[in-house]
């Protein structure tokens, strides 16, 4: 066994500083360090400190990662303490995104913990003068199986020292069949403190001498400052400073309510410019701008098959801009000192953001210490990185710690939105109603615009006056654009726009939800044209046994009646059911969804009564945590499908509050029934996103089943339903 460390010593040694790998750039979610001590430490009191570069975004990964470590290392869960997302303590694991925390950080920690356990067993064998196969581990204690009184603890073996070892990656992992912690519904560690009002969020960070900042943003992204009248706040109580650099304006006051008042009072004149298309022209704009096209699937002879098809169908689907709409607007605290800059932020990418903030302040990256603190759920990139930039600029301006709290309006107007998209479908059926040709085109801006340079942050743009191109690269619109159906002739093409009319970035599943809306709606349209049952029609093109089981599980639970959709009935309150299926990223979690709903034909109102989900994400780490994620995905995506659309005019975003951007309320939430399919022999794939992508199509298909009307534009508001009913 290779027990050589970097210095050639074996066994433990003096504990060195963390981050043995230094500050290096992680690739997309892939951790770089193989230094065991970068991942975990056995403390003298028997607890285990675990370091993850991922962050808690309100999905419960802190608990899930601790479960993995406790399981593999052989210690009780309550002794595992997670340290996450701190540039001075944890590995660089890039961004927390894409439902990849379990499959990247989880795997890294699982391997690290297994390695630590093996090393501890070898140390114990030496100490207890026994062979490895004579030893057993229980709750961090290694003992002789035949003489349990001869034992030693992990803490006793380590004596407060570090491992000083590279991870070999050759250690055998525990057999999932023997798991006792992973796979159980472990209660989340954060919930008791949150229900008791203990400080848990970025909004709860307070520093001695801290001031409060509020932003005075332009009305729209293209507006320019004409004049600022500081005399308007001359007698504003507690005001410390008005900061103005280019179009970046903020006030800093002793007390929070004083900052709010000063921000309201400060007289600023802006010149607004029309930088966006009128909202009614959004989709023609997306279709007419220059694009970069990439074919994702080209299979069979599509052109000929389409020409020879007995029936040809065409449909275009539309996705508006959506807001992340975090319940708690973004907030950050910064303390900019000469020699050290400390930033508390709810960013999904502590390391990348620390580098961008260093660029913004023109200091070396090592000077910026970024500490992640949980924010309200973000579901992608909300304003949290932007707020961190605001905080460092304000703290720099006054030389004191400053807390910046975005207003509700700041968040709605300035957060990057989930991009609007156009999805165009062409399909061909033969005389027997089989799909012989499938042609899908999606027009979209990039779904990812991470803050790699100051110009990608609101503050950076306002300072420089440059609305620099948002995207250095295009990513995300290809997600789930291809289906897993075995069509003989098919083509899938992504048409990337160079820019987005409204600032855009990642939202849960990236393009996965919109592509699945188009794919699964069109599948339903083809099935209806073929006079086929929607379930049977999908099973025809789905040879994979795992996928078939998921579809059948959802149908079984939902009591799916095999028949063609829409029987032509027209009750005043029309009832319908709809089905949708997706294989997330084509090889991750598999999801099937059945929606049951009612449509009021007079008002056009849709009332969703019941959503049934079958879900296979491989090995399940925490069944209750998983159900929580699925329920959340279904309810949030239902809100998006039924109600949400960012409003704007040519100059500014006009969705500024919960009245102009309503979301689903308690009275509108349906029952959600979940079938979990556990696959202990399969790797654990993430569950933060997959069940978000099937909702819109299942609902649109159910509306069709109820009424014969096809909804192709999100959201399915009463007005749109009425229009579709004709």
């Amino acid at each position: 066994m290779a027990k050589q460390d970097r210095q050639g010593n074996s066994g433990g040694g003096p504990r060195t500083g963390r981050r043995g790998s230094g500050r290096r750039e992680a690739s997309w979610g892939q951790p770089l360090t193989n230094w065991l001590d970068d991942w975990l430490a056995i403390e003298p009191d028997g607890t285990v400190t675990t370091f993850s570069g991922k962050v808690e975004l309100g999905t419960g990964v802190r608990t899930a990662l601790a479960q993995i470590v406790a399981e593999e290392l052989g210690v009780p869960l309550e002794r595992v303490h997670m340290v996450m997302g701190d540039t001075e303590r944890t590995p660089d694991e890039g961004y927390t995104a894409g439902s990849m925390t379990i499959s990247t950080s989880g795997v890294a920690l699982r391997i690290a913990a297994a390695e630590a356990r093996r090393i501890l067993l070898e140390m114990a064998a030496e100490r207890l003068e026994a062979r490895l196969d004579e030893l057993a581990v229980q709750d961090g204690v290694i003992s002789l199986i035949r003489h349990p009184e001869r034992k030693i603890t992990y803490a006793g073996l380590m004596g407060g020292k570090a491992f000083n070892l590279e991870i070999t990656g050759n250690t055998l992992l525990k057999d999932p069949k023997t798991y006792t912690i992973v796979g159980t519904s472990t209660p989340r560690e954060d919930i008791p403190r949150k229900v008791a009002g203990q400080p848990s969020f970025i909004q709860d960070v307070r520093l001695p001498g801290m001031l409060h900042g509020r932003l005075v943003r332009p009305p729209g992204a293209g507006a320019e400052l004409i004049s600022i009248d500081e005399s308007s706040v001359a007698d504003s109580p507690g005001l410390v400073k008005v900061v103005q650099r280019g179009n970046f304006i903020a006030v800093i006051a002793e007390r929070e309510e004083q900052a709010i008042l000063a921000a309201q009072r400060l007289k600023v004149e802006w010149r607004e410019r029309a930088t966006m298309p009128p909202m009614r022209d959004l989709y023609t704009t997306l279709r007419s701008r220059p694009t970069q096209d990439s074919p994702l699937v080209e299979q069979g002879d599509y052109e000929t098959a389409f020409k020879q098809a007995a029936r040809q169908l065409h449909a275009t689907y539309y996705q508006p801009y959506h807001a992340h709409a975090s319940i708690g607007p973004s907030c950050a605290v910064a303390d900019v000192k000469e020699d050290q800059i400390t930033v508390w932020a709810s960013t999904p990418g502590p390391y990348p953001l620390s580098g961008t903030l260093a660029q913004l302040l023109d200091v070396p990256a090592e000077k910026v210490h970024l500490i992640h603190v949980e924010g309200a759920g973000s579901y992608g990139q909300n304003g949290s990185d932007d707020a961190a930039a605001d905080a460092v600029l304000l703290s720099q301006a006054v030389g004191r710690p400053v807390r910046v709290q975005w207003s509700r309006q700041d968040e709605f107007v300035w957060e990057p939105k989930a991009p609007a998209m156009v999805m165009e479908m062409h399909g061909g059926l033969d005389a027997q109603g089989n799909v012989v040709a499938w042609d899908y085109h999606v027009w979209s801006p990039s779904h990812v615009a991470r803050a790699r340079s100051p110009e990608q942050l609101v503050a950076g743009q306002l300072l420089s006056g440059q609305a620099a191109s948002q995207f250095g690269f295009s990513f995300g619109a290809e997600r789930n654009a291809p289906t897993n159906y075995s069509f003989p002739n098919q083509r899938v093409t992504v048409h990337y726009l160079a820019d987005s009319p409204l600032r855009a970035s990642s939202f849960r599943s990236l393009g996965g939800a919109e592509n699945t809306f188009a794919n699964e709606s069109f599948m339903d349209e083809l099935a209806a044209a073929a006079g086929a049952d929607a379930l049977e029609f999908r099973l025809r093109y789905l040879p994979d046994a795992r996928a078939r089981e998921v579809l059948k599980a959802a149908a079984g639970k939902a009591g799916w009646e095999r028949r063609p959709s829409w029987q032509g009935k027209k009750d005043e309150i029309a009832e319908g059911r709809g089905l949708a299926f997706a294989w997330y990223e084509n090889d991750q979690a598999i999801v099937a969804c059945v929606a049951h709903l009612q449509v009021d034909l007079t008002s056009g109102a849709v009332r969703v009564k019941r959503m049934v989900i079958a879900h296979d994400c491989g090995l399940i780490i925490n069944p209750d945590g998983l159900k929580n994620q699925i329920e959340g995905n279904v309810i949030q995506s239902l809100s998006r499908a039924l109600k949400e659309e960012v409003q704007f005019d040519e100059r500014r975003v006009t969705s500024v509050d919960w009245d102009s951007y309503p979301i689903l309320t308690f009275s509108e939430v349906p029952e959600v029934e979940i079938v979990l399919i556990n696959r202990p022999d399969q790797p654990a794939s993430g569950a933060g996103e997959p069940s978000t992508i099937t909702t819109a199509a299942a609902v649109a298909n159910a509306i069709f089943d109820a009424t014969g009307a096809r909804l192709r534009q999100i959201p399915f508001t009463p007005g749109r339903v009425k229009a579709a009913l004709g």
């Binding site: 999905t59 008791a196 969020f201 109580p237 975090s326 319940i327 708690g328 309200a376 509050d657 308690f666």
Partner: protein
């Protein structure tokens, strides 16, 4: 709007705080008394994140001038804990794991506590209607509804 002395009864104790009379209660509770239960959510009385109990009434604190409180007793999420014991509604939320990010949970618990005091056995519709002013973006609604039912049982001694 210059700060002056204001006396408030918060979580069973008298506090003398420095605040301008028109200061919204939310900021006085958070920044003068260091409480973390009520949160800023919208500043427009639309989301419920800032809720506190004034007497037995759930009130939004983001616009409520501190001078209007007078002698009324204010209870925040922290104040529901009695002698170290969590309130049954708080226990129910833990037992049902009824949050995701947990930012809105303050308003959910405050609303539920007030509802169950007034109406110990509400109908499903009454529960949903009571909670309609509390927004949750993560989609924890169904767990929250289950937590209300569990709290009902805990408070009536059924479990």
């Amino acid at each position: 709007m210059m700060p002056g002395e204001i006396v408030l009864t918060v979580n069973g104790k008298l506090h003398t705080v420095q605040a301008a009379p028109e200061s919204p209660l939310l900021y006085v509770l958070r920044n003068e008394l260091g409480l973390n239960g009520p949160h800023y959510g919208c500043g427009g009385e639309k989301c419920g994140a800032c809720m506190v109990l004034v007497g037995a009434e759930p009130r939004l604190s983001c616009h409520l001038p501190v001078s209007e409180i007078g002698r009324a007793r204010i209870t925040t999420l922290e104040g529901l804990i009695e002698e170290g014991e969590l309130h049954p509604v708080q226990r129910a939320f833990i037992e049902e794991q009824a949050t995701q990010c947990g930012y809105c949970v303050n308003g959910m618990i405050i609303t539920t506590a007030a509802l169950l005091w007034k109406n110990p056995h509400p109908t499903d519709e009454q529960i949903r209607t009571a909670l309609d002013g509390n927004l949750c973006r993560c989609g924890a609604h169904l767990r929250i509804l289950r937590a209300v039912r569990r709290a009902e049982k805990l408070m009536s001694g059924e479990v």
